[in-house]
């Protein structure tokens, strides 16, 4: 398996030995050796079906494939990097919080419930499935992993959400009352609720 190493907390370092890795376009900051970068094509390399879904849903992932021999460093806007290993599970992630993923992983688009309407991130999230590593971005500081178990459901702010992993059921919670209409809202009218068991990653900034 490819090794995703962190150099500091904001820079991801990947060694390539003739294999490939997919990363957000423009996220390469430096490389040594013989590495080529090309656009991963429609659907961020997820195939034609994913591409069509992305076109229809607006949840676009712009990825490039980096292949060859050498070391590549990735970073984006000084955001903190978090590496998550997947062993056959599915990770749901906001497409703009995705930095890099192993080439063997499959990406697709999934319906994320009504939450997207409020968070402005689209009604759909990107899913990543398979065996390999994924690097996620957290803005505003280091990410926090919160565990969800059947007894303890979790509610998060849609803007702070980065990714979720495990057997989770995601629902959209609204708390809109007459107070919102007269402008007396608490600013937390929309939230995301997770039931089941798994892990939810959040960032300390509401974009």
């Amino acid at each position: 398996m490819q090794s995703f190493r962190l150099n500091g907390s904001r820079i991801l370092e990947i060694d390539l030995h003739g294999d490939a890795v997919r990363a957000a376009t423009g996220a390469m900051i430096a490389y040594t050796g013989d590495v080529t970068f090309r656009n991963a094509g429609l659907g961020g390399g997820g195939g034609l079906r994913a591409a069509l879904k992305q076109k229809a849903t607006g949840e676009s992932v712009s990825l490039m494939t980096c292949s060859g021999q050498g070391t590549v460093w990735f970073a984006k806007d000084a955001m903190e990097v978090l590496v998550v290993e997947l062993n056959g599970e599915t990770l749901r992630v906001e497409s703009e919080q995705l930095l890099a993923l192993s080439d063997k992983l499959k990406t697709d688009v999934a319906f994320a419930g009504l939450r997207g309407a409020s968070s402005g991130q689209g009604l759909f999230t990107t899913t990543v499935t398979g065996f390999g590593a994924v690097a996620l971005l957290s803005s505003g500081g280091p990410p926090i992993a919160l565990e969800v178990s059947p007894q303890y459901p979790l509610v998060v702010d849609p803007d702070a959400f980065i990714a979720s992993q495990g057997r989770l059921n995601q629902t959209f919670v609204t708390d809109v009352s007459w107070r919102n209409l007269i402008g007396e809202s608490s600013g937390e009218a929309f939230s995301l609720r997770f039931d089941g068991s798994g892990v939810v990653y959040i960032q300390p900034e509401e974009k």
């Binding site: 390469m28 430096a30 050796g33």
Partner: protein
């Protein structure tokens, strides 16, 4: 060696004593202890000629000198600071607006990039948005440079040239040649490029510092 010390990622301390003055960007002093005086530097290193050159080139940042006996804390706009030691093996090249402080023992000059790599050097400056001029520090001493999100140091040696995104490039030290490499294909023309068409290629012996972001300061 290392007279500058990192307090945290964004603040450094520098000791000042007679004969060991510190030149710093104006306004970068956060605090000091002891008997230290600050005065603006009107004539940059290189004398009047150097100053005129600087003004023409736009590669100018107002500096001040700290003199006396004590310790000064420096920081700038909450950006990350990296301490780089110049050990005489080669000059430190850095954009003037990234240079926060350096020991007065280091000689600073402004270099026209075109003279390093001919027309390609000029193109490099234009493409990377770094201007056609860069500041070089020669000699022995410490310097502190600004970055967005901190830096990593990547060694460059003869067998291992390094390619760097122009927006993420911060500084380099040593006997390093910088060249621009463009691999612009039809994909970029139709907006389906990888976003990595233009790179700086560094070869030779030394170290290049790269920041964790593609934002300018």
């Amino acid at each position: 060696m290392g007279v500058f010390e990192q307090v945290n990622g964004k603040v450094i301390t520098a000791p000042v004593s007679p004969g060991r003055e510190i030149l710093a960007r104006r306004g970068a002093m956060l605090a000091y202890t002891g008997d230290v005086g600050f005065s603006p530097v009107h004539m940059g290193p290189g004398g009047a000629g150097g100053m005129v050159g600087r003004m023409v080139q736009g590669e100018q940042v107002a500096m001040m000198v700290a003199q006396g006996q004590g310790t000064v804390h420096y920081g700038y706009r909450g950006l990350y600071l990296t301490i780089i030691e110049v050990d005489g093996s080669g000059p430190l090249s850095v954009e003037a607006d990234r240079l926060v402080a350096h020991e007065a023992a280091l000689q600073s000059t402004v270099v026209f990039l075109g003279s390093q790599g001919g027309i390609r050097g000029a193109v490099r400056g234009a493409v990377s948005g770094q201007g056609l001029f860069t500041t070089q520090l020669h000699g022995y001493g410490c310097a502190a440079v600004l970055s967005h999100g901190g830096t990593i140091a990547i060694p460059v040696d003869g067998s291992r040239p390094v390619a760097v995104d122009p927006q993420a490039y911060v500084a380099h030290v040593g006997q390093v040649q910088v060249d621009i490499s463009a691999s612009v294909g039809w994909r970029d023309a139709v907006g389906r490029g990888s976003g990595e068409a233009i790179q700086l290629k560094l070869s030779g012996h030394g170290t290049v510092y790269v920041q964790a972001s593609e934002q300018k300061l």
